[in-house]
Amino acid sequence: MTEETHDVRLHVNGATYDVSVPPRRLLSDALRHDCGLTGTHVGCEHGVCGACTVLVDGRPTRSCLMFAVSAQDTEITTVEGLTNPDGSLGPVQQAFLECHGLQCGFCTPGFLTTITAGLAENPSPTRDEAREMIAGNLCRCTGYQNIVKAVERAAELGSAT
């Protein structure tokens, strides 16, 4: 029996992707394998690690907990969409570079999207708020020390622009 598929139009980072996917296809898989946007990573597929976090209409969302078909008509931002229009690193990305906020880089896309949304809501977090902002994402490499610093640095960079 052939698996039934649905035509879905995904708006990702300002571009449109028409994909035909089975109802059970996860948004994370659709982004990675149907749209070819492999910057979004999958670390657990049960909503705990946050590596797969993307912005859906600006809100941080675990793309492993969402079906691709339900993302129709939303605006999705992935890590690939966080650079400045001129192609330079966006403030959160730049802050991670300066603060050594990443090692293997696998968890990084989820942190970058989470912090982007977090700073949109709270542009100048205290240290505790910075830690709180990232407290739902797992990183096994960095011990979070430099990620917290990167949140503060990103806030600085963001307020400068």
């Binding site: 990573h41 597929e45 880089g105 896309p109 096994r140």
Partner: protein, 824 residues
């Protein structure tokens, strides 16, 4: 003058890729229309397989093939390699790529399905019917030792190996010592848990009969050799490429995993690229764990606390199979000694089979357990003698003028355990200052006045890093002046592309941006060992330094000819060779052009290198003892390991009511010789400390008595989030260079995690006043211990409750044993 990059903070070059979402991890690799694999895994810890029925599978649309053991032939039908066949491992056992007749842990691979996508492949797994005959499972060290049931019928007592080493006569020394004490310690399982699991992609090219394999590994050359051997291919037919790796921490050094063989096999059989990407549950139940040991320690010491005799016996749970040999318990047994020199030392261990996931190195690789045994012993001696814990340590230290120091034991590499350098008294002074050791009693009193309970702990370690046998490097200066560097070991987050480029840029006097480093690609460097044991900086760093030196020598030789100067008068800086004190110079790129006499010109630069323009017409264009091209290649193979060291101290607060454990201060003094990039080294320490916090306070593998892993998800296996790690980690460096390599470096990768169990046990014990002998420790366990040591509990109730109710914990206190001491 080009500024020296070695030793400075340089931002990482690889980050540009990662931050833009352009990393390429194995699941991102897509070599054409790819099929996807899924693995049927045993749901039982111990069973015989009577029959496997796969008939229904091939009826499922989108399924291409299914393999079980019966479909394997030749070397594929043999057990997987026993990678490190230590002679003491008398009963080594490894699994088959797909289980033959018997399964020995929940998660063992039984069948391999390849389908159009992973969803369909997983559907197909549920159509496979396996008929099992259940066997009694052996779970935990106590059951393994009791040996009422056996994991493998032909391994008596479940004992894979028994090993004993002795320097002096420890038992006699203890018998004659003025003071003795006995400790029984316990440490549980944890695991590496990289955020990216295992994964393999393979493509078979039928025209050239060549296989390309991308795999998330810590050893590309190891996988290459294993794949070639198992698939009956020549080494020259197999390329293994390590893409970006999303963390390793040890688990990816084991190889070949069943999937690393089955994916290439399927790709060759089906003529299509095939991919396997492990999911999180699979990583929990079918990769590897580490740490579980039970330890019995007897020690005799003098009035100062100087150890006269140390006799350690421990039992190591190695799980169902032993592909990685005895590395972990051997490291425990030797690195246990840390910075100390007990006059007499004896160690015996048994490495035991259980029906659980196998054990292979996890960051620290047996050192955390050794450090735990030794440091808990130091604390116990201090308590017994009523001395400060740092004093007892100090009298046992190897002194700075005693290096190289020989322990009279054999290390994991089969060579004598000889420390190269260090300064432990200096480290101790630094850590005391950093954590505020001498001021702590005052702090404790202040806290007590507020009804708060705090404790301080300290732990020291020495870590053998940079083990052999060798690593190599190739440095190629292109005609553009850019430099391409290749080394064979792999990278999983350590920033090799940056640190190694720093070394090369310094040596060749070129711009850092012009150096590109490739790791873990057997096409670029087919001779390599792998990334483990904190060896990459020492081994590949040294090899790259040597290779760059060779390229430099050649560049100077050619430039001397071209500039009609003598080599001694030349210097290399800013991408040019210059005659010192003049402005006569030649670009390094031009030197590269000159190094390769050409027949054909394709641009202005190459015109300068045609045989009409270069060379002496009376001599061969390439001299007999020379090669074309501006390249350098070299290997570094040290006589023995370098020994890094360090000390950690922690101040914890334990909640008088809920027994919650909070970290108030965490301090690290670290000595890894010269630092290539302090930013990267500190990052390694941060990560290690966080894993250590997890291992000491949160993480454990909760097996039930039937061998089911009850917490095989991130929901139930508690890895630290930002909220669980110390708010800051104070780090101070000491640099005692290693005399063993040209850069004076030692490894840094594992250090951060080694003292954690020891240092937290010490601090909690100090806060609570009763012995902590089983780690990790949870608040409920601590609560139960308080109940057992009742006098302490009575003081507690005075503080108002922060939580409305306290859950009654199960009695975990039985894991904690009293320390027995005797004085003569």
């Amino acid at each position: 003058m080009t500024t020296k990059l070695f030793g400075t903070k340089v931002n990482r070059v690889e980050d540009q890729r990662f931050l833009r979402g352009r990393g390429r991890y194995v699941d991102d690799v897509l070599p054409g229309p790819t099929l996807h694999a899924a693995v049927l895994r045993s749901p039982h810890a111990h069973a015989r397989i009577r029959a496997i029925d796969v008939d229904a599978v091939l009826d499922i649309e989108g399924v291409h093939a299914v393999w079980t053991y019966d479909d394997l032939t030749g070397a594929m039908a043999e057990p997987l390699p026993l990678l490190i066949p230590h002679p003491t491992l008398t009963h080594g056992r490894t699994q088959y790529a797909l289980a033959k007749d018997e399964v020995n842990y929940v998660g063992e691979a039984i069948a391999f399905v390849v389908a159009e996508d992973r969803y369909v492949a997983e559907d197909a797994l549920s159509a496979i019917v396996v008929d099992y005959e259940f066997l009694p499972p052996v779970v935990g060290i106590a059951a393994a030792r009791a040996a009422t049931n056996l994991v493998h019928d032909d391994v008596p007592g479940n004992v894979g190996a028994r090993m004993e080493q002795e320097n002096g006569d420890a038992r006699a020394a203890i018998a004659a010592a003025p003071h003795t004490l006995t400790l029984d310690l316990d440490i549980e399982r944890s695991a590496c848990m990289p955020m990216e699991g295992r994964g393999t992609v393979a493509r078979w090219d039928p025209d050239s009969a060549r296989l390309q394999v991308w795999t998330s590994t810590q050893t590309s050359t190891g996988v290459r050799a294993a794949v070639a051997a198992k698939l009956g291919l020549d080494l020259g037919q197999v390329d293994v490429i390590t893409p970006d790796v999303g963390g390793g921490f040890g688990v990816k050094i084991n190889h070949p995993w069943p999937e690393e063989l089955l994916v290439p096999l399927a790709a060759r059989t089906l003529g299509r690229p095939v991919k396997f990407t492990e999911d999180r549950r699979e990583h929990f139940i079918s990769s590897a764990h580490e740490r579980a040991q039970v330890q019995h320690i007897e020690v005799g010491y003098d009035d100062e606390g100087r150890i006269l005799g140390l006799d350690v016996e421990f039992w190591h749970d190695h799980g169902a199979y032993t592909p990685y040999g005895l590395i972990v318990p051997i490291i425990t047994s030797t690195q246990l000694l840390g910075p100390y020199k007990p006059a007499n030392y004896r160690v015996v261990f048994e490495s035991l089979y259980t029906n659980t996931v196998m054990v292979t190195p996890y960051r620290g690789a047996g050192r955390p357990q050794g450090c735990y045994a030794m440091e808990r012993t130091m604390d116990a001696i201090a308590k017994d003698l009523g001395k400060d814990r740092t004093e007892v340590r100090a009298v046992n230290f190897i002194q700075p003028d005693e290096f190289p120091y020989e322990h009279g034991l054999v290390f994991q590499d089969g060579r004598p355990l000889t420390y190269d350098s260090g300064d432990y008294p200096a480290s101790l002074e630094k850590i005391k200052k950093l954590v505020g050791w001498d001021e702590f009693e005052q702090f404790r009193a202040e806290m007590a006045a507020e009804g708060r309970r705090v404790g301080i702990g300290l732990a020291c370690y020495v870590e053998g890093t940079g083990v052999g046998p060798y690593e190599g490097a190739h440095v190629h200066i292109e005609t553009s002046g850019k430099v391409k560097v290749a080394t064979g070991l792999t990278t999983q987050g350590q920033g090799h592309a940056t640190a190694f480029a720093q070394i090369v840029a310094d040596e060749l006097g070129v711009r850092f941006e012009d150096v590109e480093v490739v790791t873990g690609d057997t096409r670029r460097m087919p001779y390599a060992v792998g990334t483990f044991a904190s060896r990459a900086a020492v081994m590949s760093g040294s090899a790259i330094h040597l290779a760059a030196k060779r390229a430099k020598e050649k560049a100077l030789r050619i430039a001397a000819d071209a500039l009609e100067a003598s080599v001694e008068d030349l210097e290399l800086a800013e991408g040019k060779v210059t005659v010192r004190g003049t402005d006569t110079s030649i670009d390094l790129g031009t030197v590269a052009v000159l190094s390769n006499p050409l027949r054909y010109a394709f641009d202005e630069a190459s015109k300068a290198a045609t045989q009409f323009s270069v060379g002496d017409p009376g001599k061969p264009p390439v001299a007999e003892d020379d090669e074309p091209g501006l390249e350098g290649k070299d290997f570094y193979s040290p006589e023995r390991s370098t020994f890094a060291s360090g000390m950690h101290a922690v101040i914890v607060e334990t909640d008088p009511l809920t027994a919650e454990i909070r970290i108030l201060k965490y301090a690290v003094v670290h000595d890894c010789g010269h630092l290539i990039n302090p930013m990267i080294v500190e990052g390694q320490i941060h990560g290690g400390v966080a894993q250590g916090v997890g291992g000491a306070l949160y993480e454990r593998m909760a097996y039930d008595e039937s061998g089911q892993l009850l917490n095989a998800s991130f929901m139930d296996f508690l890895m630290p989030y930002a909220s669980e790690v110390p708010e800051s980690i104070d780090i101070d460096h000491l640099e005692t260079p290693s005399p063993l390599n040209p850069l004076g470096i030692k490894g840094a990768g594992e250090a951060g995690v080694i003292p954690s169990a020891a240092v937290f046990a010490a601090a909690i014990e100090d806060a609570e006043g009763f012995p902590i002998t089983a780690m990790p420790i949870s608040p409920s366990e601590l609560f139960a211990l308080r109940k057992r040591h009742a006098p302490v509990v009575e003081e507690v109730a005075q503080r108002p409750s922060r939580n409305s109710s306290v859950e009654e914990p199960r009695d975990e206190a039985s894991r904690n044993h009293p320390t027995r001491s005797t004085d003569r």
